[in-house]
Subunit: 191 residues, 2 copies
DNA sequence: AGTGATATAATCAATTTTGATTAGTCAAGC
DNA sequence: GCTTGACTAATCAAAATTGATTATATCACT
């Protein structure tokens, strides 16, 4: 996930200082990326060193002086390359929540069910939050296309967790084997 | 994404040496996580230092000596805690492919369409690969539940990219505004 | 005029992750 | 008997990421 594309893409539309950039990402692109402030500054520094971005210090009133970042010619070229790369190739996504399910046999079905109920609530909360997001931009804004994408994934998660909970209902214990001795299975197959 | 849960969970089923652990993850859990070898060794070291895992060196034939990792009592406790945490809370997922779409107005619609066609092919390839994955384990294996989850997400991506391509078809240029001056919009709203 | 809350602007030390590399073993073919 | 490629086993230096913190300014309220 080369996050330079995000910073270059935003700077391409408008030169900005670091705080402004981070604030925009936090407020408006929170469902697109989890880029944190120090990482953003780190990447901006790197882009400077590579000549893709120019940095100018500016003083606004009495506030601490700040750095305004402008995209350069080579920066624009780099952005185009990254964008084409991004649009062309599919990047795998991994789901942290899958890890727990792999090992759910460690708990009793009822316990798992209770835990998943809480998770389900959080997913539904997030779906509502995104649905109610004010539509600042025009309806053709690509950000809204991304929002739809994200919502579709959240609905998959909702359904999946509901299915798991359903599967666990009315169940006292595990009558199927809980992925025993995975490595031996593996070795048997590969030998 | 606390990946200790994966290593502890596997070691809990069977003690293993590093290579074996990594090999199993690479071969059998490649669609669940992107944990790389050096990271796995790093986490194993940390688990050792924290007393969650015990490390014993072993010599097999003429091969270089290797470290066999066993989960300890505190390690089991830690695992239970991590697992409950994982099952209880929903972890947000971010999609690298969204970043490109946000800036797609930088290219002509036709170019974007061509790029997305390639991406679509890759998604379909991955769907086929996962569908054809041999079912080593019993059908109730939680890994298969995760596989279904992953496939559902891939199908969302497939549909989403198809929709985007459809949207772009027959289009010469952008007649809608391309997310202009995002920061000004943002400031207008927040002021 | 003082106090706490929030906004502005960024940096640092510490942790985590990765691409590249090391180093030896084994089996197959020439 | 020698080379080539794959497997076993892990490490290292470099890069990326994060939680915590610093420091000042402004605002709302008493």
């Amino acid at each position: 996930m080369d996050r330079r594309i995000l910073l270059l893409g935003l700077l391409r539309m408008q030169e900005m200082h670091g705080y402004q950039l981070n604030d925009f990402i936090d407020r408006r692109l929170d469902f697109v990326t989890d880029l944190k402030k120090p990482t953003a500054y780190y990447i901006l520094d790197k882009l400077c060193k590579d000549g893709y971005v120019r940095e100018e210090t500016e003083q606004a009133g009495n506030r601490p002086e700040r750095k305004v970042y402008h995209i350069t010619g080579p920066g624009e070229e780099c952005f185009q390359k990254l964008l084409l790369q991004n649009l062309t190739t599919f990047e795998q996504t991994y789901f942290a929540d899958d890890l727990g399910v792999i090992f759910m046999h460690s708990f009793a079905p009822r316990e798992v069910q209770t835990a998943l109920q809480v998770k389900l609530g959080q997913i539904r909360g997030e779906i509502e939050r995104l649905q109610d997001l004010p539509a600042h931009n025009n309806p053709n804004d690509p950000v809204r296309l991304v929002l739809r994408h994200k919502l579709a994934h959240l609905r998959v998660d909702e359904q999946w967790v509901m299915d798991l909970i359903g599967m666990l209902a009315e169940r006292e214990g595990w009558n199927d084997e809980p992925l025993v001795k995975p490595v031996e299975d593996c070795l048997q197959v590969s030998v």
